[in-house]
């Protein structure tokens, strides 16, 4: 692959200074499962690669404090999948994370990396949005002083490969609110084969305590598309099927699927509804289950094919 400067800052200040110095020419490196591949293929040609794995301020654990769970930037997906905390409170995210690549990929790839790579087909993004996640972005102000800001993930993506994180900024971690009960969330996707694959389409659906249904659709637009039913109707158990279909259709219409090497547009459109029905039902059932005062966690669920 083409050459670059390899840098390994010891702390956040050093890291931000490097990013500032190189402008857009420095790319941050955590797991490397996206960046290193792109450099090897000639799709990225950075002047510098900044290995952040030595930066302490980028957390390497999952912590619960008050009503927020924080997933540090250095947490790899396989650890996220194994975490009891995540399985209990964010089963749909665990399901999604557990099918990103293979175990070898998940042992390196970070949640933050999956987000910042900003592929419209990223599997973790729909459930993160359904769980109302935010990211913490660190940068330097005009005076060169470090600042941090929180950005809701729903607003974070600008286009394929593009986020609100500027080229000189870094994402430190992900914050997830502990959902008020009852809450149910499910993840579903379609792929071309049963084995490891990128999603043809993916999505997550959550129904919160107020009965608001949030969908997040992936691989059907330049960014993940969030769409909400604020009426509370979709959360009703006795909603007539025709009305449910109508509502789902109106949500799905916000997407813009295309034909590409993985799938044709027509199929994607049809599958949006098919999978949406399935994840809605599962989110509903999980919420019902919670109403009974228990949680229905997820132990290493494969989460494919909208089951």
């Amino acid at each position: 692959m083409k050459s670059f400067e390899y840098l390994r800052p010891h702390n956040l200040a050093e890291a931000l200074e490097i990013m500032e110095r190189y402008g857009a020419g420095a790319r941050p490196l955590l797991g490397g499962t996206d960046l290193t591949v792109r450099i090897q293929k000639g799709q990225a040609d950075p002047a510098a690669v900044v290995d952040l794995k030595g930066v302490g301020e980028i957390g390497e654990s999952i912590d619960a404090r008050g009503d927020t769970v924080t997933v540090g930037g250095r947490v790899v997906l396989s650890d996220l999948v194994r975490s009891d905390l995540m399985q209990t409170h964010y089963p749909a995210l665990v399901e999604a994370a557990s099918i990103v690549g293979s175990i070898q990929i998940r042992n390196r790839a970070t949640l933050v990396g999956n987000i910042c790579n900003a592929s419209p087909a990223a599997d973790t993004v729909p459930p993160l949005i359904a769980y109302a996640a935010e990211v913490t972005v660190a940068g330097l102000d005009e005076k060169g002083a470090p600042i941090r800001s929180r950005v809701p993930l729903e607003d974070f993506f600008l286009g394929p490969g593009e986020t609100r994180c500027a080229p000189t900024e870094l994402v430190l971690g992900v914050q997830l609110p502990l959902p008020s009960r009852p809450f149910g969330c499910a993840f579903g996707r379609l792929t071309r084969r049963r084995g490891v694959d990128l999603a043809t389409i993916n999505m997550a659906c959550s129904i919160d305590a107020a009965g608001i249904t949030t969908f997040a659709f992936g691989a059907v637009g330049p960014t993940v598309v969030a769409a909400r039913d604020e009426s509370g109707e979709l959360a009703q158990p006795d909603l007539p099927e025709s009305r449910r279909e109508e509502l789902l259709r109106s949500l799905v219409e916000k997407t813009s699927p295309i034909s590409d090497v993985r799938s044709g547009e027509q199929y994607r459109r049809a599958m949006l509804l098919t999978i949406a029905r399935r994840v809605l039902r599962q989110a509903f059932e999980r919420r019902q289950y919670q109403s009974g005062g228990q949680t229905q966690g997820s132990k290493h669920y494969r989460g494919g094919f909208g089951e």
């Binding site: 050459s3 670059f4 490196l29 396989s78 293979s102 175990i103 990929i105 042992n107």
Partner: protein, 174 residues
């Protein structure tokens, strides 16, 4: 072309090395070209096929997408590090006995992934084996005998452990 050289210290198969690597050099290239450990293979070069699987700091990873520089301070186990005195260990022998080896090119990566699987899950179901090896492509075998090999190795390990009067415990990943 970059003149940057990065000094790293890396332990491979329990042997410590001090090396100077190029920034663009991968861990796979370090193993194959600098250390002459050619057992780990290159196939897809993008982390999709598992032929380059090694254990790094206790985790199975694709070495083709890890920069050599990133491996500074790490412990790496390759296929060459599994054998006992140049002879197949229990897992390697299980692959042979089950007929799970044909051309053999995917075999080192497959065995490393299986080794990692069994360390974390000593009594896997067939489905768990398939899931754990889903990142390793094989074009020759159809996978059935590979699953059988891992099952046989798990059973042999369990027998050996109970004979020794010990419970085998999974290593926590570092």
């Amino acid at each position: 072309m970059s003149m940057q050289r990065i000094r790293i210290s890396i332990t491979v198969n329990a042997e410590r090395h001090q090396l100077e690597v190029d920034p663009y050099e991968t861990l796979l290239e370090l193993l194959r070209d600098r250390l002459d450990l050619t057992g780990t293979k290159k196939c897809c070069g993008e982390g999709e096929c598992g032929a380059c699987t090694v254990i790094m700091n206790g985790r199975a990873v694709n070495s083709c997408i890890i920069l050599a520089a990133e491996a500074d301070g790490s412990e790496v186990l390759t296929i060459e590090g599994l054998s006992e005195g140049g002879r197949p260990n229990q897992l390697q022998q299980a692959f042979l006995d089950a007929g799970a080896v044909q051309c053999g090119f995917c075999t080192p990566g497959m065995i490393m992934a299986a080794h990692y699987l069994l360390r974390n899950n000593p009594h896997p179901t067939d489905e768990e084996i398939r899931e754990g090896l889903s990142g390793n492509l094989c074009r020759c075998t159809g996978y059935g005998r590979i699953v059988a090999a891992v099952q046989a190795a798990a059973a042999a390990e369990a027998t050996a452990a109970s004979k020794a009067g010990l419970e085998s415990t999974p290593e926590a990943p570092k």
